[in-house]
Symmetry: C2
Subunit: 333 residues, 2 copies
């Protein structure tokens, strides 16, 4: 089947259109459903933060530093840099005897305009704690401290922190990441490893089902996914798609976005993991696609829930006067 | 020839890719060069603000209210809502005895994050004067006042202001806009009319050459295009692509962006108009494409200028730490 087609309409006509690859895979790696070339290598970016956080739990650092659902959700977050996110990141660092200056993720203004404007109005300039990846980096630093490793340079590909992350991604995806497949540098300075899109869906199916991974990894993966499902706001933020996707089916669906139009997730009750890539990298395309994809996967199982995702896959477009002028929708599903 | 392909790379691999339709047409309507389906109807959005401003000049309103290059550039602008833009829009309205409250374009925060943050830091909330279309709307209102028309409701499709705009677009493009072709409502509440992409290139070729239009329209079009080329900052703003494109060849190239990945423009010395549409609506794709397209058109004529546009078609991508992690580039040209 060809890619998903995401249409952006105006006055009833299609003004712009996106293509997205979508795949759902079970814990054995069998493709349950696919649209487009699901074997294509893609950079998963932040959509695999749960995989990147596995060593935090497996090493025992999460327990030593008292991580509950809130802290684990933040460790898997691409958060919006709201006060609650930045404050918790700073608190986590404090538990390991570290501070904002130990982060190596860099500073950026929150991507969400209202959040950024709120900071500016209060005369606050963002610190590294506001970086959408500060929770993940705080987790990296806690792991390094717990294991007695040098923290400086923890973002480098050869640092033990990043080697453990690469190994976790390689094991869960079953793909030769960082060797035969392309690698790059992510926005927050750590390595990002490309792999076939279907292999990321496979990784989340394994973690969702606790099959195909060692018991310790199964427990860690399940704990991280449950933390995200129970604290979606800490994993994302106000008005964010990940929150709407997870609040539509509390405790039943995990979904995490990544830059350049990626989503990864799991529907444990179906035994499936899924992955989405908008070919042009557009967030509006990946957000519509993931909701439509969840509707398709869930329809035979729970029609009412499928309807909720179907509704989330359509997004009205309004002009500055508030008039609806078009919509974003997924066509031909 | 197939569409332009715009690649977004990371670590040497292509992470995301866009497709764009590009066409160059002479004043007789002959296609000089095209990539992709140039007959496809597209909404030009703000890329045709020069066409929308023709009645302002032709009616005599521009002269009565003392419009020079600065005011005319703002009347054709999708400006960034910087102080110089908002202040001039307010001044223009004052000349017609009107004010911000007479605008019907709606309010929005400047799209450019640094500009928006600067307003917020100063405790300023944007007014309709900050709307990127406030110059165009001020021109609409001046025309209505000059012609003794009711100003209220000037954004409506049946108001004389918008009927004149539609007629100007239909005449210059030669397309049956608003009848056989789709129409929609733009972000600023006025109608937007779809037409084949090549017909917009044709319109700008005609205005650039002063051929195929009545002498009065030729003069008005030339005056508007020259105003934009002489005051590119007022037509756009700080850090904006339109400014870089026009400053690369002062007085020789006109280029104007529109929402959803559109560019229109003219290279009068080549006798050509051009138009670009990124199929997915991405600005990063249309900005790279228009620079690459200008490089292709100008190479046989001025290799040094073509090199400058070639350089503008490539855009390095950096992470928050400032490290280059990839680039946006146009492939296969």
């Amino acid at each position: 089947m060809s890619e998903l087609r995401i249409e952006v309409t105006r006055g009833g006509a299609v003004e712009s259109a996106h293509r997205a690859i979508a795949v759902a895979v079970d814990a054995d790696g069998a493709v349950a459903l696919a649209r487009g070339p699901a074997d294509m290598p893609v950079f998963p970016r932040s959509a695999v933060k749960v995989l990147q956080a596995l060593p935090l739990v497996e090493s025992g650092a999460a327990d030593v530093f008292g991580f509950g659902n809130r802290e684990l959700a933040l460790a898997c977050a691409s958060h919006s840099g709201e006060d609650g996110h930045a404050d918790l990141a700073g608190e986590i660092l404090g538990r390991a005897g570290l501070g904002e200056g130990d982060l190596e993720c860099g500073c950026h203004w929150p991507f969400d305009m209202p959040v950024a404007l709120d900071l500016a109005r209060r005369g606050i300039d963002p610190t590294q704690l506001h970086n959408n990846c500060s929770g993940k980096h705080s987790g990296f630093l806690c792991t390094a401290v717990h294991l007695g490793e040098e923290t400086r340079g923890y973002v480098g590909a050869d640092h033990p922190v990043q080697r453990r992350v690469r190994d976790a991604i390689a094991q869960t995806t079953g793909a030769p990441v960082g060797t035969e497949l392309p690698a790059g540098i992510d926005g927050c300075a750590i390595p990002t490893f490309a792999a076939p899109l279907r292999s990321f869906a496979h990784a989340f199916a394994k973690l969702g089902a606790g099959i195909g991974v060692e018991p310790e990894r199964a427990r860690a993966g399940r704990r991280l996914i449950e933390a995200c499902m129970s604290e979606p706001w800490l994993m994302a933020g106000t008005r964010r798609a990940c929150v709407a996707l997870m609040e539509a089916a509390p405790g039943r669906v995990f979904a995490k976005t990544g830059a350049e139009g990626v989503f990864c997730g799991a529907v444990p009750e179906l035994g499936l993991g899924f992955a989405i890539k908008a070919e042009d990298g557009a967030t509006r395309a990946s957000e519509a696609s993931v909701a439509a994809w969840l509707a398709v996967l869930l329809r035979p199982h729970d029609a009412a829930l499928a309807e909720r995702y179907e509704a989330l896959s359509r997004h009205p477009l309004r002009n500055w006067a508030g008039t609806q002028v078009g919509e974003v929708r997924v066509a031909g599903l």
